[in-house]
Amino acid sequence: MGKRVGMEVSIAAAEAVKQCNVDVISAYPITPQTHIVEHLSELVANGELDAEFFCVESEHSALSVCVGASAAGARAFTCTSSQGLALMSEITYIASGLRLPILMILANRTLSAPLSIWNDHSDAMMIRDCGWIQFFVENGQEVYDHVFISYRLGEDRQVLFPVIINMDGFILSHVIEPIELIEQEKIDQFLPPYEPLYRLHPDRPITMGAFALPSIFAETKKAQEVALRSSYPKILEVWEAFGKMTGRYYHPVETYKAEDAETLILTMGSIGETASVAVDMMRKEGRPVGLVRLRLWRPFPFEALRQATLHAKNLIVIDRCVSVGGPGGPVASEVRSALYGEDKKPFIYNFVAGISGRDVSPSDFMKMVDRAEIEIEEGKRDGYEIYGVRE
């Protein structure tokens, strides 16, 4: 068993990147991602990590450098938040279209305006369809672990996709947590060196990033879509292998006291830990409430979600992003789509909660459950509310 130490989650993430022996790091500092990149630049400057560290002039360039590096066969890492991701967004679609297994940690932060540095998922939702494998982790240990998982997964010849680890800004990035570090020998066994399928090399010229005529574009997108969906069993496989190594097993959809629950709360990210406290409190009162946590956002785990939720009477989906003028929050909208075709399914109530760092406490979850249960009982079928807004 590895050493268990107290460290800031951002530092743990950077240490994991170092343990993966990356070749190229390119990032532009933005709150709350900064500590990860700062620590990596120190590691490179001190000679502890033999990698190229590119100080670029923008996030657009940061990911562009990673695309170039990955195309040349390097293991590349970047990291951003919010407005930085917005500037980078053009290149996110290119990285996945070219099937380059870059890793990005996204320290989730609100998109402006109004300007805010605090945490929610509006940045991640902006690039929902960018074609990367996307995880939402819940605590520092999961961030650390998923760095290894992501490289092994993304670089697998049967996957070859870039991966995003979504970790909540400040709530995770700036908090000191106990992290169980994994010995380097074990990492070296778990994560073999990157062997690219195709790479830019003068000895064997190929073209990457060519244009596609309308007569072939649809075929390229179908190939990409099928490949991303087909990565699902590989994700399970890599999680299983990681579990065997560390004893920490991960699943696309995780449940807590959900089997016999009448009302389920569904969360993504760190807010799930608070929700589990609320579930315990309500269980003590004898209320059959449970929790479902969505860890894998893309490829979306349709079947696992159905298995975890279909038996319940009510499903309260917590979104951390407003889809302005849309069908409720983006998570709820996808959950509805996933369950729509089922004959017997729970009533869905959608709360947008904790946007831009507004605290959501266990008692808030209890209030949300109360409200949803009453309103569903009264016949409301499309409950949607931005929770906790002063009237």
């Binding site: 195709y198 005529l213 075929e219 099928v226």
Partner: protein
């Protein structure tokens, strides 16, 4: 490419849409963009080669009789050759529909 792009199925496309065979842009028929095609009057041609030099698509090639002849598979019909020809030997005429 062993066959034109409109015959490829999604299963045949290399990962990341990589093009493994260099130079396959030569298979791209840009000639079907045009409405006007250049026609050469050999009586007026002085073999200066300006059409060849100016052609942005390198569609002109020298034939065995030392005339520069346009390859209509690539010619987009831009008319630069006709504009630059110092003797007015090239005229742009409407392509017939059967072509």
């Amino acid at each position: 490419m062993t066959k034109p792009e409109y015959e490829w199925t999604w299963k045949e496309i290399p990962v990341g849409n990589v093009i493994l065979e260099p130079g396959n842009a030569s298979q791209y028929r840009t000639g079907d963009w045009k409405t006007l095609k250049p026609v050469l009057n050999k009586e007026l041609c002085v073999h200066c080669g300006l059409c060849y030099i100016y052609c942005p698509d390198m569609a002109y090639n020298l034939n065995e009789e030392d005339y520069y002849i346009v390859d209509l598979y690539y010619c987009k019909g831009c008319g630069i050759c006709a504009k630059e020809c110092p003797t007015g030997a090239i005229s742009m005429v409407l392509e017939k529909e059967e072509e």
